[in-house]
Assembly symmetry: C2
Homo-oligomer: 345 residues x 2
């Protein structure tokens, strides 16, 4: 029998009450610490609650899984992990293998930092978009950068998990993560992250010394965030109750700021550039064709498509808006090219 048991986010005291019974009855308890470190006093409490064999499990042992599964065929085995057990995909895969090998499995869920953190910051959970992880060895943060971009243009918040490496006792510093996001902006230029972006650093959520510090990235770069674990949140659109809560639940170095106002969809950025450009080109070329009826119709058509483009954008039909402005531009430029004038696109 194999139990997947979550420890919750606050050390031994956050363990679900039913898990205490399971721990005391298990033949073997594996404690896995590779998603987050567990303090010494909590470790002692877990050991004391365990009557059977207590084995600290390294990452490779859980990923390999053979020892755990072999033991679970004959004995009551518990795999105990920080937070909620199935946030780690390794645990889902181990459970799949266990069931395939006809081992009975049970789950005890517990508080996860992912849900708790959002509430502790005072943010609305339904506004959280896809999460992303920032690893130390990866210098280019293109993937998390685009996760933030896509979230932010929908007004959603982005949770950025920072790498923790138990073997090396390494936790990526939030300042390093923020610094690299600003660096990534220089290459990608989607106007997503700058030193003015409002960010939240949530530290040691669920522990007594929990800290939530928010402000512009430039301000956060001057702060010592202390002991890990830390998580970074890049908020999207902030409801006033979220801004209020952020200020009251934690420490705001700067006034909360709506990041989504600055980061515009590419379609909106393009329309801002092309609508006036096509109108100007149209005005320039019109006199050249004033006596040619067949070409006049084309110019009138171009004007109508510019108007359509603006209407489509307003209606949220961004792609059709871009197609229309591109089309109008093509109509005008064909007439410009025919007269030997430079095209505008």
């Amino acid at each position: 029998m194999l139990w997947f048991v979550g420890l919750g986010i606050s050390g031994f005291k956050s363990i679900p009450s039913e898990a205490l019974d399971v721990l005391s009855k298990a033949d073997i308890v594996y404690l896995e610490q590779f998603t987050s470190p567990i303090g010494k006093s909590d470790l002692t409490k877990i050991k004391n609650a365990t009557k059977g064999k207590f084995i600290p499990a390294k990452r490779w042992l859980v990923e390999d899984g053979k020892e755990i599964l072999e033991n679970a065929k004959k004995k009551k085995v518990v795999l105990l992990a920080y937070g909620d057990p199935y946030i780690a995909t390794t645990h889902i895969e181990l459970r799949t293998r266990a069931i395939e090998e006809k081992i009975k499995t049970h789950s005890i869920h517990a508080s996860s930092s992912l849900t708790s953190m959002i509430g502790e910051c005072g943010l609305h959970f339904y506004k959280v978009g896809r999460i992303a992880t920032i690893m130390n060895e990866i210098k280019s943060l293109t993937t998390p950068y685009y996760v933030i971009y896509k979230n932010i243009i929908e007004g959603n918040h982005t949770v950025l998990l920072l790498e923790y490496n138990q073997d090396k006792d390494f936790f990526l510093d939030p300042k390093d993560a923020l610094d690299r996001l600003v660096e990534t902006e220089k290459g990608q230029k989607r106007n997503v992250i700058s030193s003015d972006t409002f960010a939240i650093v949530a530290s040691r959520i669920g522990f007594k010394d929990q800290k939530i510090i928010s402000g512009k990235i430039s301000s956060l770069m001057k702060i010592d965030f202390g002991k890990p674990p830390h998580t970074v949140i890049i908020p999207g659109r902030l409801h006033f109750t979220e801004s209020d809560a952020l200020k009251i639940f934690g420490q705001c170095v700067d006034e909360p700021y709506d990041n989504s106002e600055k980061t515009k969809k590419i379609s909106i950025q393009m329309m801002k550039k092309y609508v006036p450009m096509v109108r100007e080109a149209l005005e320039e070329i019109t006199p050249y064709y004033k006596d040619q009826k067949e070409f006049q119709g084309i110019l009138e058509n171009a004007e109508l498509y510019v108007q359509d483009a603006e209407k489509f954008l307003e209606e949220g039909q961004d792609e059709v808006a871009i197609l229309s402005i591109g089309y109008a531009d093509g109509l005008v430029d064909a007439l410009r090219l025919a007269k030997g004038l430079d095209p505008k696109m």
Copy 2:
């Protein structure tokens, strides 16, 4: 003093161990049940764990909050709720007000159905996009429909919470929710939801009679899902370990199916239509201009822009791809219009 305590998702046994101590020492315990119903035997266990006054709290009492805050000024008060306490924005607002009124607050987090459910289905948490709620009184599901659409084109999973109304003892049936999504498709036509869409109904997660049933919507419509609470998940792109887990952890009526393959981004849909159309128009008009050098250049330009459009789409620059194909179309149509041929756009 005001404690916000999560009960977790499995009734009294999922309560964090530290919360037992808090319940026994509190002067007043408010039990709030408006996010999910709590069974009778659990209710008795909670009452027994409470030494002080036990008050079942209706929704209006928590939303109004005055009584709770008044009591918390002088006494040890606990607000106990299903799951994790701050998933409900009402609780975040109440905590904000408490701190503003100089009342000390504490939080005890617990397992939330939102995180647990994803793991119980065997899905990867980092692929979950923004969640949405389906309410009974709202007949048009445009908002959740577009949440699903945006998630699905990024390959993300969508969790759909279904309305629960404690006062009316009403829980929206997952079949009604699915049926209305199919109806919404008829008006919106983004190719997001059909009777072939693969969906998951997760019922009573954390309870002994938990059920995870997945399949095409048409198959799910024939199933009786039994007692609430239920949640619907519309998966996006499925990793093979997710499909495997879905089949092993629950019951798949149909083979798991990648919904994101069918639902293409609007930009891709448009390119599929316009690239061949512009190429055909270009071929048709070319002979009309074979002796006019100034127009030949325009046609060559159009061909280059079609090629660019394809290249941009491959690179993921969807908006620029649409602009390019629109422009090429405009160049070609200007020449068609000039010769009295119908434009193609």
